[in-house]
């Protein structure tokens, strides 16, 4: 066999093995970060920055988690005597804002940035410096908000920042400005990531890798980045308008001077609903990648899953009003958004049943990532079903703004994001560190 290879290669120019190794080393040097601390600052490598995004996101996750414990402590205290009201308002606002903007979004961006070039067979993202810009914007925005929290001037109008409460009249001081500035920096970072994820997937796949044959995770990230490109500009626009109103008195949201407070809600939820799927899709991508491996079988219904992703991307922009069922919109219009909101459960159901079908088809083994995936099923199914309930207009009139919604969104986000991310981290950790993990520790933690 060796002979035939040599025979076929006779016509090609000689390619000495030692030279190839030297070329490889040279190439590696070109793509490597510079040495030392300054080399870390100037790094544009997707591996470095992707991991850094994820590590930073986990730090914010821990901070948000501590805040949530303070919230629970306050709610468990008789008469709420643990924290004063102002501080409590800051803490629950920051808990929501940190988890949404400083943990979930950067975490999924980091996973995409770290993993995509490796999946697609390319050296780096399309615009490596844009990756770096995104990271520094994210860190800067996050530090603005954290600093404000340390000095007791954190935002306190809820993570949804409804006007007129967040306007200059009812929220004097810099608290609301901190939110608008910090979140806008994080949003710019997200749009930067979305641009290059889109371009990388569309333009930089390995030769011969068709869109219809690329790993499902890349389809999920393509859907996610498309949603980010459409969904984040409304919030950036809303934040800029609100800051202009606060700083210069232009009355976009002030009804006394011709503005409309509901404009904020429309802009916020036009971002805020797709945001749910922006968070869920990359996590679902991790599920669609890990489940087949844990079950030693190809995924069931590749095409159907791609169709489900595209359906989710499209539908998720037609149902933001289900966050506004109680603002006084006529019932007929609500019926439209109610129908769109239940319809969006169909692509999700397609994926859930495709995953269970894959488990049936294969020989599932309870390795550590699979334990987290079971956690996903136990939690997310209930999150999804309560979501359908909330899409039903009359029930929403009762449940809106209650702990039912809080519970629903935590089931969705912990089931649909945290558990899959835990599965992803445990699944890819050996690839990150180059080491096998210590047996038993992760299993104990997931139990």
């Amino acid at each position: 066999m060796n002979d035939t290879v040599q025979h076929d290669a006779q016509d090609l120019p000689p390619n000495a093995p030692r030279r190839a190794l030297r070329l490889h080393r040279e190439l590696a040097r070109v793509w490597a970060n510079d040495r030392g601390v300054w080399g870390q600052v100037t790094a544009v490598s997707h591996t470095t920055l992707g991991l850094r995004f994820m590590a930073t996101a986990f730090v914010f996750f821990a901070i948000g988690g501590i805040l949530s414990m303070l919230i629970r402590a306050q709610l468990a205290t008789r008469q709420g005597a643990f924290l004063d009201t102002d501080l409590y308002n800051q803490i629950f606002t920051m808990h929501g804002s940190i988890m949404m903007f400083l943990f979930a979004i950067p975490m999924l961006e980091g996973l995409g940035i770290w993993l995509l070039p490796k999946l697609l067979g390319t050296r780096d993202m399309a615009f490596p410096r844009l990756t770096a810009l995104g990271y520094w914007c994210y860190l800067f925005g996050g530090l603005i908000m954290l600093t404000a929290l340390l000095f007791g001037v954190a935002p306190r109008d809820g993570w949804f920042m409804y006007t007129p409460l967040s306007g200059a009249t009812y929220s004097p001081g810099i608290n609301a400005d901190v939110w608008l500035l910090g979140v806008t920096f994080v949003e710019i970072s997200a749009v930067a990531a979305a641009v290059e994820i889109t371009v990388t997937i569309l333009r930089q796949r390995a030769p011969g890798m068709k869109l219809t044959e690329m790993p499902l995770f890349a389809w999920y990230m393509l859907g996610t980045s498309a949603m980010m490109l459409v969904g984040f500009p409304p919030l950036i626009a809303g934040s800029v308008l609100l800051e202009v109103e606060r700083a210069f008195g232009w009355p976009f949201f002030d009804p006394l001077r011709g503005g409309d407070p509901l404009l904020w809600q429309h802009l916020f939820w036009l971002f805020g609903h797709p945001e749910v799927y922006i968070i869920f899709l990359p996590a679902a991508g991790a599920m669609s990648t890990i489940i087949p491996v844990m079950c030693r079988t190809p995924i069931l219904g590749y095409g159907a899953i791609v169709a489900a992703i595209l359906g989710l991307v499209f539908l998720s922009f037609g149902l933001w009003v289900h966050h506004m069922f109680t603002v006084g919109i006529p019932h007929l219009a609500l019926a439209f958004f109610s129908a769109a909101s239940v319809l969006v459960a169909v692509p999700t159901a397609v994926q859930v049943f495709a995953w269970i079908g894959t488990i049936w088809k294969g020989r599932p083994e309870l390795h550590l990532p699979m334990l987290h995936i079971l956690g996903f099923f136990l939690t997310f199914v209930m999150g999804g079903l309560t979501g359908v309930m909330l899409a039903i207009v009359p029930f929403n009139w009762q449940a809106h703004d209650t702990a039912f919604v809080t519970a629903h969104l935590h089931y969705v986000l912990i089931g649909g994001f945290v558990f899959p991310m835990m599965a992803a981290v445990t699944y890819w950790m050996p690839l990150i560190t180059g080491k096998a993990r210590v047996k038993g520790v992760g299993e104990a933690a997931s139990g």
């Binding site: 109008d157 603002v327 169909v346 159901a349 049936w360 088809k361 079903l385 009359p394």
Partner: protein
Amino acid sequence: MKCSRAIAAAPVVLAACSGPLSTLDPGGDVARDIARLWWGMLAGAVLITVFVLVLLALGFGRPRAALQRHWIYGLGLWFSMAVLAVVLGAGLWVGERIVPRDDGAVTVRAHAVQWGWHFTHDGADGRPVTDTRTLHIPAGQPVDILVTSQDVIHSFWVPQLAGKMDAIPGRVNRLRVQADRAGRFDGLCAEFCGLGHAAMRFDVRAHDVWPPAVADRTIQEGHP
């Protein structure tokens, strides 16, 4: 850990089914329709959750043929669409039954401010009567509340009588409520509105005789 939490939560969940702020202890037709909708959806959701988890558990066996026809089209598309169509239909039907309509129902005004309420109804002499703690409504008939706000967004909610309606500055929203019997109900502001939000509670008093006599109202005022 999950189990212990569920067990610990059980008495709390059951306790929440009754009481002055429970949507599941309805005091009138509007809230009763919504409560029935909830019980129906809860039963369906429990069945579906069990069904999905059983399917998942059954997956942990020997490898079996799994057809797209069954999993993707059968379960993913048709099963989910059938369930959703039923739920959506039920929701729209209930919604149409309880929205305000032009039937000459008694109208009362609720005006929210940071952090309290002004309620206004027409007195026996036709002049408006305003009250800052108690909303007076007639019992046994639908009542429309005209909800608005002076400053930030609040939300008017009497869980036993109807769903909530946001009080938005510059807008007047109409909400239909109904109390079956004369009596007291609890109301609150349901939209976060700043420092005093948690204290934005109010009383509702449903009267057999409408408009209520002044003496009747003063007794109510004396009530803490």
